[in-house]
């Protein structure tokens, strides 16, 4: 009996995959309608152009950069601490937080200057996927740093330490996501031989 049990045990031990699935989530933009002109004018100061060429080199706003510089520039781009006229505009918007969650916003209504910046990411068809994902990762890391900083300043703890399953925390997190939006726009592939 124990022998059979052992055999089965070994089988299940080998067959079991314990890997947890992890990754970076993204939402693709919907396909543009056929007759729709997708020309939206975005001011140049509101766009951070990130290019990756076929040799996996990175260019940020016309300068060759490495991943560390990309992160610094992205953080500076989204926060624009000195209201530099070359960096994105900020618009006064009202953001809802749960009342009483922060001493700064006792009634939950916060009027904040929110960046209008968009990161434009373009890559070559010969860029490797590994590099592309690294760049995506750095962009996420930069926004996540800003969110953590904001959460620390106003709620006394990091965004990452909040519990998405707790309804109050969830509301706070949603508010913070509205303050620092993950605005990444990927260019339509250029060498696409006629849609459909």
């Amino acid at each position: 009996m124990a022998d059979i049990a052992f055999l089965l045990l070994i089988f299940f031990l080998v067959a079991t995959t314990m890997d947890v699935d992890t990754g970076i989530s993204r939402l693709l933009p919907p396909m543009p309608e056929k007759d729709q002109k997708t020309q939206t004018d975005v001011k140049e100061r509101n766009v951070l152009v990130v290019l990756i060429n076929r040799d996996d080199q990175l260019m940020v706003e016309g300068e060759i950069s490495d991943l560390r510089q990309l992160k610094e520039k992205t953080i500076e781009f989204f926060s624009n601490p000195n209201n530099d006229p070359d960096l994105p505009q900020k618009k006064l918007e009202e953001v809802d937080f749960p009342p009483g969650a922060s001493s700064q916003f006792p009634d939950g209504k916060a009027n904040l200057y929110i960046s209008q910046g968009v990161v434009s990411l373009q890559n070559d068809r010969s860029t490797t996927y590994g590099k592309y994902l690294k760049v995506q990762d750095v962009l996420v890391a930069a926004v996540s740093d800003l969110r953590n900083q904001f959460a620390m300043d106003y709620f006394g703890r990091k965004y990452d330490d909040m519990d998405a399953k707790n309804p109050v925390d969830e509301q706070i997190m949603e508010g913070i996501r509205n303050v620092y939006k993950m605005n990444i726009s990927e260019a339509e592939p250029k060498n696409i031989g006629g849609t459909n």
């Binding site: 049990a5 989530s25 919907p30 068809r125 010969s126 592939p189």
Partner: protein
């Protein structure tokens, strides 16, 4: 002088193994219950890239998988060594945007889900890190055409402490 027994003859007492089957059974049931069998065999080689900001996928039931990589060595005589897209059990060997097979795949996968989960369907892209982006862009375009917009770039957690 037989009054003194020599202790050395007895040796070490055997361990009582009566409880061993119980332990083995317990482990067996644990693994039986937790095991999830893979439905599809992966026919392409995928070395996932690493990233720091990865998040766990919470609900696995709404996730469908797409793989891109070189065919495994036993299939290379059949398909060659160019990277290919795998949807379920099919390898796709199309130039340009694989819109038709992807659309069929997305519809079939969406059909499996509950009504409430249909618009939450996530496509997990398990792509080899050395694949050129051209193939990935084609797949993304095909997914957009099939209106499967929630995607997840599968990556391993990077424990490297180097910061950037």
């Amino acid at each position: 002088m037989g009054k003194f027994r020599t202790k050395s003859k007895k040796g070490v007492q055997a361990i009582n193994t009566a409880s061993l089957p119980d332990i083995v059974f317990m482990l067996l049931f644990f693994f039986m219950v937790t095991t999830v069998m893979r439905e599809t065999t992966i026919q392409v080689k995928v070395t996932l890239p690493e990233a720091k900001e990865v998040k766990k996928i919470e609900k696995k039931s709404i996730v469908s998988y797409v793989y891109i990589g070189q065919p495994i060595s036993t299939l290379q005589s059949l398909y060659g060594s160019e990277p290919m897209i795998q949807l379920n059990d099919k390898l796709i060997n199309e130039e340009g945007i694989p819109s038709e097979p992807v659309k069929d795949f997305v519809l079939a996968e969406r059909e499996k889900l509950d009504e409430a989960d249909k618009n939450k369907m996530t496509i997990s892209l398990r792509i080899d890190k050395n694949i050129k982006m051209g193939k990935v862009t084609d797949l993304k375009q095909a997914l957009r055409m099939a209106n499967a917009l929630k995607i997840n770039y599968s990556a391993k957690k990077d424990y490297n402490t180097e910061v950037y």
